[in-house]
């Protein structure tokens, strides 16, 4: 099979960090390889052939050496990246199974075959699984970070049947490849504790930011929804997907002040900040600047939801302390027990992916996905994904099966 393989070496890592491995640099940590397909780890596992596989911000962070070393310890190398996958599964005899599937990539106890499951999985919180450092299967939080499973940037990978969700015929491949990030957005919204009348801010309008806006609108109406987007097309899409107002990073502070009636404070030696502000802020950039902004514009007692994957950052935590902010991580997806925007409990609890698939059917977000690249054009694809905003793109994806001789 063909695959893009991520093999970190210390020199390669250093070069990637220095040269910006995703910005047209040498991409020393990634190579196109012809290798044998991963073995099936056990019963319940199947082979899967990706039709489309998205490039996520977390993939880019790994490639340019900016991902947190913390996450490195929860991966096994070399691995094939790619966890946003729409695919066809293969039967045991190698024939293609009917229909398409999206892969729920989390490698929790259920997938790993760990019995009894860890306390978190037992509690129905698979995204918090404590077995991800290598029990039952090589280390890896998700498919796409585990050397045993492979990932979506390949012509083949393996997946546990419980990871596969059938894709309704009404969804095309581009709609379906966004189900995974949409599930992240759904989980973040349901986990946020946002209430119906809240003034909500979504910082960042890449894929995650835009999908968070869409999920907020679909899952219940906040009192007022403000999005911050850097580029024109992002602003247009944020408004289309349901933001009441859209600001630029330059106008963000005043826009939130205006929307929330807060007070703007400009002190010496500090960036301006608000007293008052958003009730809930979804930080979807994963950057230090994004986190700083989130803390500067979220009201005392409010909630900052970390949706974008952060790395090592330096920020002043005094606002979080003084304002008694709730800073809440929102990682992946799992089983949702909370109803949207303060509407009580979900009965019965539902998998986030099921909710995301329903939303994907309503929203038809495939327009956010550009023309897919074959794996052989990975340098161009990664460069495009790394500068998607300035190129007018949102989601860049591979079509792994394209471009190879039959």
């Amino acid at each position: 099979m063909h695959a893009l393989e991520y093999s970190p070496t210390l020199p390669g890592y250093a070069v990637a960090r220095l040269t910006g491995g995703t910005r047209g640099g040498p991409l020393t940590l990634l190579r196109l390889a012809h290798r044998t397909a991963p073995a099936l780890p056990g019963a319940g596992w199947v082979r899967v052939r990706p039709l489309l596989a998205g490039i996520c911000g977390s993939d880019l962070a790994a490639l340019d050496g900016h991902a947190s070393p913390y996450l490195g310890a929860l991966a096994s190398t070399p691995f094939v990246p790619g966890h946003e996958i729409v695919a066809r599964a293969l039967e045991e005899d190698g024939s293609t199974a009917p229909g398409r599937v999206v892969v729920e990539p989390q490698l929790h106890c259920g997938v790993r075959g760990v019995r009894p499951p860890c306390p978190r999985c037992a509690a129905g919180e698979p995204q918090r699984c404590e077995s991800v450092a290598g029990e039952g299967l090589d280390a890896g939080l998700q498919t796409g970070y585990c050397c045993a499973t492979g990932g979506g940037w390949a012509t083949e990978l393996v997946a546990h049947r419980s990871q596969l969700h059938p894709v309704p015929d009404a969804l095309d491949d581009r709609d379906a490849v966004l189900v995974e990030p949409l599930a992240c957005a759904v989980h973040a919204v349901l986990r946020s504790g946002a209430q119906g009348g809240d003034r909500v801010l979504v910082l960042g309008a890449g894929t995650l930011g835009l999908l968070t806006v869409a999920a907020l609108r679909e899952l219940g109406r906040p009192g007022r929804l403000l999005a911050v987007a850097k580029h024109d097309h992002q602003r247009r899409l944020a408004a289309e997907l349901g933001a009441d107002a859209v600001a630029t990073p330059a106008t963000m502070l005043r826009a939130v002040r205006f929307e929330t009636g807060a007070r703007l404070v400009e002190g010496r030696g500090t960036d301006p900040f608000l007293l008052g502000g958003a009730d809930v802020c979804f930080e979807c950039t994963g950057t230090a600047a994004g986190l700083r902004d989130a803390m500067a514009v979220t009201r005392a007692g409010g909630t900052v939801v970390m949706v974008g994957m952060p790395g090592r950052v330096t920020i002043d935590l005094a606002p979080a302390w003084q304002r008694e902010l709730v800073v809440r991580g929102a990682y992946g997806y799992g089983i949702e027990t909370h109803a949207p925007l303060g509407g009580g409990d979900v009965e019965p609890p539902r998998r986030t992916f099921e909710i995301a698939l329903e939303l994907a059917g309503r929203l038809r977000l495939g327009r956010l996905v550009g023309d897919p690249h074959p794996l052989s054009e990975y340098r161009a694809a990664i460069a495009e994904a790394a500068s998607a905003g300035s190129r007018g793109a949102v989601k860049v994806a591979f079509a792994p099966g394209v471009g190879w001789a039959a």
Partner: protein
Amino acid sequence: MGSVMAPRPGAVVEVTRQTPPLMVPNGDGYVLQRLPTGARVVYAPDPLPGLRDPDGAIRRALLNPLDSEPLPALLRAGMRLTIAIDDISLPLPPMRWPDVRQRLVEAVLDLAAAAGVEDVELIVATSLHRRMTAAEVLECVGRRVFDAFWPDRLYNFDAEDPEALVELGTTDQGEVVEISRRAAESDLLVYVNINLVAMDGGHKSVSVGLAGYRSLRHHHNVHTLRHTRSLMDPPHSALHASCDRMGRLIEKQVRVFKIETTLNTDTFPSTVGFLNRREADWSWRDRAAAYGFSRSMAALPHARARDLFHRTRSPYALTGVFAGATEPVHARTLESIYRQHAVPVKGQSDVLTAGVPYVGPYNVNSIMNPILVFCMGLGYFFNMYRGMPLVRKGGVLILTHPLREEFHPVHHPSYIDFYDQVLASTRDPKRIEEEFEERFATDSWYRQLYRRSHAYHGVHPFYMWYWGAHALEHLGNVIVVGGQRHVAERLGFLAASTLDDALEMASQTVGRDPSVTHLHTPPMLVADVEPGAYDTGVP
């Protein structure tokens, strides 16, 4: 004594091939601009001679008022006296020392002291304008008054202090009248006014200067401003009619002694005296100075150029001082103003051009931001007429201004949000009024900045937009020469690099070879536009 030539009246001058380039204001600088042959230039009358003895004239006015007892007869020991003065928005540029307010306030205080009046307070009638700084107040009233009264008995009006306001009633048109409690509960309110243009003064002084949002919203709104034709022609202004109704209601309950003053158009000091003169009259020395001036100002960093401009003090001379009852006083004031400002013009033109200078009423010692440029162009210059606008319905207004995206963060905080949030959503004055005004007007942060800092009231940028409401309905297009394209776009304007380009762009709206009128201001003028075909005034 030598013979004294009468000052030249205003004039309409046709542009010929011999006409030199015109000196056109361009924000923090000037540009020399050549108008197309056949265009007409409306020049202000030369400055009228000032009163020879201003202090004597003031004294006489106070002792011989119109429809009122002399001021000394209204003053007595034990009474409560309030003196209100116009704020820094007048005159423009600020006048050379001594400011006429100083002369008037000192004269009134002298009479009050002679009568044994002890309970005296002076209020700067800022309405929803920014609080003046101590230095600005000092410049207006002079050291003697400032030292004696500031800050306890000389202070800025606060339209957001509920304790400091009192409701006096409602007019027959349902307009709530709420003004300064101190003024309303005084035995006598003396209002000291400067009338730079015909829009100022009259009942507007008290009913606006000492009032807050609850009252102002009845006339500072889109409907009223669309029916104000023009701001410089009070009898045809719905805004002034509303102020008159309110003023009459106030004067049923409050004894008001009005003092109004008029100034001539001697706007620029002698160092840049050529700016007061018509280009055709320039000596070679004037031409060299004008060229050097425009080039050197352009070479300076614009913040530095702005700073230099704001240090300008005008040598205005007092041409009239009238005291007594508001209405007869104001009638005399308007006569005096039109005597100085009026220029007869025959017919409208397809295009009106004007340069926007560095200062307007709302950016003294501050920045002329894009909203203020809008107000200067569509609110003030468009409205410099009586009869009918200088530009025909569907015509084009061409302004000259750099139109930078630049705001004074202390003075104009709500303007920034108006520009970023409101104009990004709509430019329609009616929608702006309905969807956004209340929020800005009641925003607690703006309120705090207005009361404690030096910010214009949160609602103020809306008034700037409404000021242009009539022009927005009337004009086919607005083009800004030299303006930044994205800023022009936000305002709903077009940007052009040169006047020639702007005229080319205007031809899309008004056709080829349009008639063009250039409003040559400052100095200030009012065009008395008569019906009829466009006429350059040349036989």
